[in-house]
Symmetry: C2
Subunit: 257 residues, 2 copies
DNA sequence: TTTCATTGCGTCGTTATGACACAATAATAC
DNA sequence: GTATTATTGTGTCATAACGACGCAATGAAA
């Protein structure tokens, strides 16, 4: 396992060990307090937030590079992730952007430095259990925080577009991807699961019909415990029957939402 | 518009105007005689077939590069295409492959030539009207032909894997993508449309229930003509109401298949 | 002990779905 | 020119799924 490189090292010698013109960005989804959240980095010397990203070593599988970035930002080793799109418009790489940021950081970059090339970026989205994540900024950022999906206005470069595309993809793949198991803790309540679906879909669902339908799939089992402490009636806890869940997702859950 | 380059030019000077380490491959779907087909190239000096592909100019949008490749292979200018995956395993670029092929073609390549780098390839799938396509081989191939999806065993490098991924993606996006309008001629019969769905899904559907459901969406209108010439009762012709079709696809067609 | 929002469990009418029957039709065989 | 045959157009029927809603049970707070 390689240690994280300093910015200076990356700028000066990156061309030697990174793939040229290629980067990746991660949209890391989490679910907390009934909100769908994304892990963002606050950039040094700029009033902008950005998606966690990185470069790919010359002999590294892109997927592994994504796993590496995910590990560095969240501390997690076993993460569900899916590549969802490549962003390849020439206009997305504005040289001014980077050289200005780096100058503010006291780093001089020559005009032909590899970091100022045109970059293609591969987008990955990840589904993680909010509670187990320890957000960790990288070398070029001063903070790493969860942000509510619906509160995000602008991001660095084309990252807002990347985020929107990730969300669109997630919606389209809803019936093929283990959102419930990956975004919720082991034990969860029915209202929590429903809220998760509602925030991803961006619309309200009927409480009773949702429960009937989700249970009819047969991969969710009710436990004998309830979640006490809420302000009202204690809801039952549920958990996934992972074998059945996986099998159902392979075919795709039947029906729309 | 740039003319197609010769192989020699590409090898010798490609590094000057192409993005390094980046290529694209196209899975071009067509529908003919009740079979879902893909456009393949038979490679020079090798008993293999490959997907049409190409490189990306340094200032070119990847999407445009895909459009360019599609135009060169099919003669079509207005094509529906979707980027579906990036293939980035280091093992997919085997140097032997290319240098052997090129040697057989009488072209010598030095060990550090850019064409022997590791390559990442962006996969696009396209939906085209079979009847309007004029298959055209490229510089490195001797033939360009339609092949039945279900008859394809092996392909060049990892192209079979790319093809399988495209097909999987198409299935998953079935309710969001205008397969009918793009793969069929303007006027088509109900059995033709049904066969299209059946071959993509890889399973049989009930004739009468299919018709009821597809018509209930409301974006297919029956014409007053029938398709004569078949061995039996002449079926009605239908065509799409494109406005309604587009609108329905934006939401995703409701229900599964 | 009462209040109140939430949860668990149901009902009811409508719509969608899967399985199937039967008549109409166009080319072909006789 | 008539019969044959495979295919298409239309409809039925029982069942399952779906959307909208009612109401009692619960647990914390008033």
């Amino acid at each position: 396992m390689k240690r994280e490189l300093s910015i200076k090292e990356t700028i000066q010698r990156g061309a030697n060990f990174f793939m040229p013109s290629l980067s990746l960005d991660c949209v890391i989804f989490g679910f907390h307090e009934n909100e769908l959240k994304v892990l963002l980095l606050k950039m040094k010397n700029a009033d902008t937030w950005a998606l966690p990203g990185g470069f790919i070593y010359k002999e590294e599988d892109i997927e592994n590079a994504a796993i590496r970035v995910l590990r560095e930002r969240t501390g997690l080793h076993d993460i569900f992730l899916r590549q969802f799109h490549v962003f390849g418009q020439p206009s997305r790489s504005e040289k001014k952007f980077h050289s200005n940021l780096l100058r503010k950081d006291g780093i001089k970059v020559s005009k032909d430095n590899w970091i100022l090339q045109r970059f293609i970026t591969v987008g990955y989205y990840a589904l993680v259990d909010f509670a187990t994540v320890t957000p960790e900024p990288d070398q070029s950022s001063v903070a790493c925080e969860w942000k509510d999906i619906y509160s995000i206005q602008d991001l660095f470069m084309d990252h807002k577009h990347i985020l929107d595309t990730a969300l669109y993809t997630l919606r389209m793949q809803l019936n093929y991807v283990p959102i419930g198991h990956k975004l919720l803790p082991q034990k969860f309540t029915m209202p929590e699961l429903q809220k998760l679906y509602e925030t991803i879909l961006g619309k309200k669902l009927d409480r009773r019909n949702f429960q009937r339908r989700i249970l009819s799939f047969g991969f969710i089992k009710r436990l004998k415990e309830t979640r006490k402490g809420g302000a009202h009636k204690a809801p039952f806890l549920y958990s996934f029957d992972l074998k059945k869940y996986k099998k159902a997702l392979e075919q795709g859950l039947q029906g729309g939402w």
